[in-house]
């Protein structure tokens, strides 16, 4: 089974983001890190691969300025076999649909049986890419998985819902999006880190995939988020819990 995992390199969240003053795009440093939410997808892929043995492979798929490829190396060090990097200046500022077209074309080219992604990226937060990719590829989308099983050639997941979860099955090929907490991502091993550099990273452009990028999205302004207001302080006179219940009722939590 060929498993392809979407991973995104993002600026280190521990360092303040900077925006380009003209385009308002995030200024991407040479060294970017693996989006934390993608580590879950990589772990699910590696676990499925371990279960399936030698017949399975795990390839990373990323669309971003490559820079030092540190984020991709981080995922390779976890154990993925190789990576495909779509690096193309014409894709700068690509919206979710353009991104989905590129990823779908790359996954198809890689003959992916299963494409795994996080539910949304930490820098963009559009949250629609996995579903769009599935639609473009014409395969089932199994989304918001909190548990994943490979049973009789099918994928069975527990799909997180507001009320609990649904059990959903889908035939392969398919697109799977996983929530944080679906598995405990492994640490990149020191040995894996040393080996990561010798793993293949294929660099492609939009043209290589036969996709013409139409970036029509423009950020017209960026406003600062209003600071959070200080909360109410309730002195507990022995019946403070009643005030807490009142507050929860006010915001309709209970």
């Amino acid at each position: 089974m060929k498993i392809v995992v979407c991973v995104k390199q993002i600026p280190d969240p521990a360092s303040p983001y900077q925006l380009d003053p003209e385009s308002y795009f995030v200024v991407r440093p040479n060294d970017q890190v693996l989006d934390d939410t993608d580590r879950y997808g990589v772990e699910v892929a590696l676990q499925l691969s371990d279960e399936l043995g030698e017949d399975a492979s795990v390839t990373l798929l990323s669309m971003s300025p490559g820079g030092s490829q540190q984020g991709i190396r981080q995922a390779l060090a976890m154990g993925a076999d190789g990576a495909i990097l779509i690096e193309d200046e014409t894709l700068r500022g690509a919206d979710a649909l353009t991104t989905s077209q590129i990823l779908a074309a790359a996954a198809t080219r890689a003959e992916a049986d299963l494409l795994i992604a996080g539910t949304e990226s930490t820098d963009g937060y559009t949250g629609v890419v996995p579903q769009q990719v599935a639609e473009i590829m014409g395969v089932p989308a199994l989304t918001f998985a909190r548990k994943v099983e490979h049973v009789d050639g099918k994928l069975r997941i527990e799909r997180q819902t507001q009320a609990g979860y649904d059990v959903v099955e889908g035939a392969l090929p398919a697109v799977l999006s996983v929530t944080s907490g679906v598995v405990e991502p492994r640490y990149p091993t020191f040995k894996g880190i040393m080996q990561a550099k010798s793993k293949p990273v294929e660099t492609l452009t939009a043209a290589d995939l036969g996709v013409t990028a139409k970036v029509s999205q423009k950020i017209v302004s960026v406003e600062e988020v209003e600071g959070r207001q200080a909360g109410d302080i309730i002195e507990d006179d022995g019946e403070g819990y009643l005030r807490i219940i009142e507050k929860l009722e006010e915001v309709k939590v209970v």
Binding site: S68, R73, A77, I193
Partner: protein, 386 residues
């Protein structure tokens, strides 16, 4: 000399930092309070470290270790140093001296220590032989195919966790220009060997949960095959492999000092007195500047020594300068961080007083500051006949 990190080194730093933050630091307060690592936690952290491939990172890859060079190890030790010894030493860095293992010692001691099946400790200090190592009274006398060991070792770190001890004992005397001196031999001695008793050591102010022990040997017999290296050549073995421990102490001080600086900086930027942030007062801001300057200097000295060690060109003086400067830097930085916090800095609600206590021993163990200065000055004066 280039301290730009490779992409691999950046990832190793990132992984170790994350492991420390996620697996070690959440247990810090409990270990400190109880002077004990909770039952089961050692095994749990150890299993995760082995799975993450960060266990025994200093040992050769061919035996199952991480195969990291000295410079990369200094980076790892700096990250591990953010946690106290009780927690960071669960991720074993077996004594490099074990690389002197030969024959079946490799299978019995070296490899199991790298894979986490066995745990080592090293015994040099004695009640009457601290810095004066050659004054040791613990003896090993050859008797047929065995050695008979008698004497006492103390201040033996993590012996309570260990399965065996790398023991240094006197095996005779030799005549030198300065009179007779003891010949020292290194041995591998299993815990539980008849005549070998391990008793709890002293209650130290530093490193709660990371204990020292006293080792008593009373006609303890071990096979002659348990000599590590060659008979009477214990100092040669030690000199070849133990320089790395001074770099380890220096690098661990960097990790601890960095946490103290982060806490002090955050406090200076947020605490208000007399209508402004205390960082606006020169009395506080200059402290921060001195702390950071001292830190950077210590890091550069440590990196220089580690880089030279990786290249095989490190001198005793290089390691000594890194050790004395980094340990004294850490004492200065943790003390100043407490001063910036004022009274709150001394309360155990914050880890600063713990850092302050923990780092006190760093100026003493693995060669006191005075011994390090002796090594440095000797290298300066000897060429002039001094």
């Amino acid at each position: 000399m280039n301290f730009d990190l490779t992409s691999e080194q950046k990832l190793i730093v990132q992984t170790t930092r994350e492991f420390v933050k996620k697996e070690l630091l959440p247990h810090e307060a409990e270990v400190e309070k109880n002077d004990h690592v909770p039952d089961g936690l050692v095994e749990s952290i150890k299993a995760k470290a082995i799975a993450a491939g960060i266990y025994a990172p200093n040992m050769p890859e061919e035996y199952g270790g991480g195969g990291l060079d000295s410079f990369t190890m200094a980076l790892v030790e700096r990250e591990l140093g953010a946690a106290g010894y009780a927690l960071n030493y669960i991720i074993a860095r077996p004594s490099n001296i074990l690389m002197a293992c030969e024959g079946d010692q490799i299978e019995r001691y070296l490899i199991p220590t790298i894979t986490g099946e066995r745990y080592d400790c090293l015994a040099m200090s004695e009640p009457d032989a601290g810095s004066d190592v050659r004054g040791m009274k613990c003896t090993a006398v050859r008797d047929g195919d065995e050695y008979v060991i008698n004497g006492t070792k103390h201040f033996i770190s993590h012996a309570d966790m260990a399965d065996y001890v790398i023991l240094f004992a006197a095996t005779g005397e030799e005549e030198t220009a300065r009179g007779p001196k003891k010949r020292i031999t290194a041995f591998l001695v299993d815990m539980g060997t008849p005549g070998f008793e391990l008793v709890p050591g002293y209650n130290a102010v530093s490193n709660k949960g990371y204990h020292n022990s006293i080792l008593n040997f009373d006609d303890c017999r071990i096979p002659a095959g348990n000599v590590l290296g060659e008979e009477h050549k214990g100092f040669d073995v030690a000199n070849e492999w133990l320089g790395a421990t001074r770099l380890q102490v220096a690098a661990i001080c960097l990790g601890r000092a960095r946490r103290a600086i982060e806490l002090a900086t955050e406090w200076a930027a947020s605490r208000e007195q007399f209508g402004q942030k205390i960082g606006k007062f020169q009395g506080v801001s200059f402290k921060l500047a001195d702390m950071q300057t001292q830190y950077d200097a210590a890091e550069l000295l440590t990196f220089r020594a580690a880089w030279k060690d990786s290249e095989g060109t490190m001198t005793d003086s290089d390691a000594a300068m890194a050790k004395v400067f980094a340990t004294e830097m850490c004492q200065f930085v943790t003390d100043e961080a407490i001063q910036i916090y004022g009274g709150m800095g001394l309360m155990d609600d914050l880890p600063l007083e713990m850092f302050w206590r923990d780092t006190r021993v760093d100026r003493i163990w693995d060669g006191t500051s005075e011994i390090q200065r002796h090594i440095i000055s000797r290298a300066m004066l000897r060429p002039l006949g001094g």
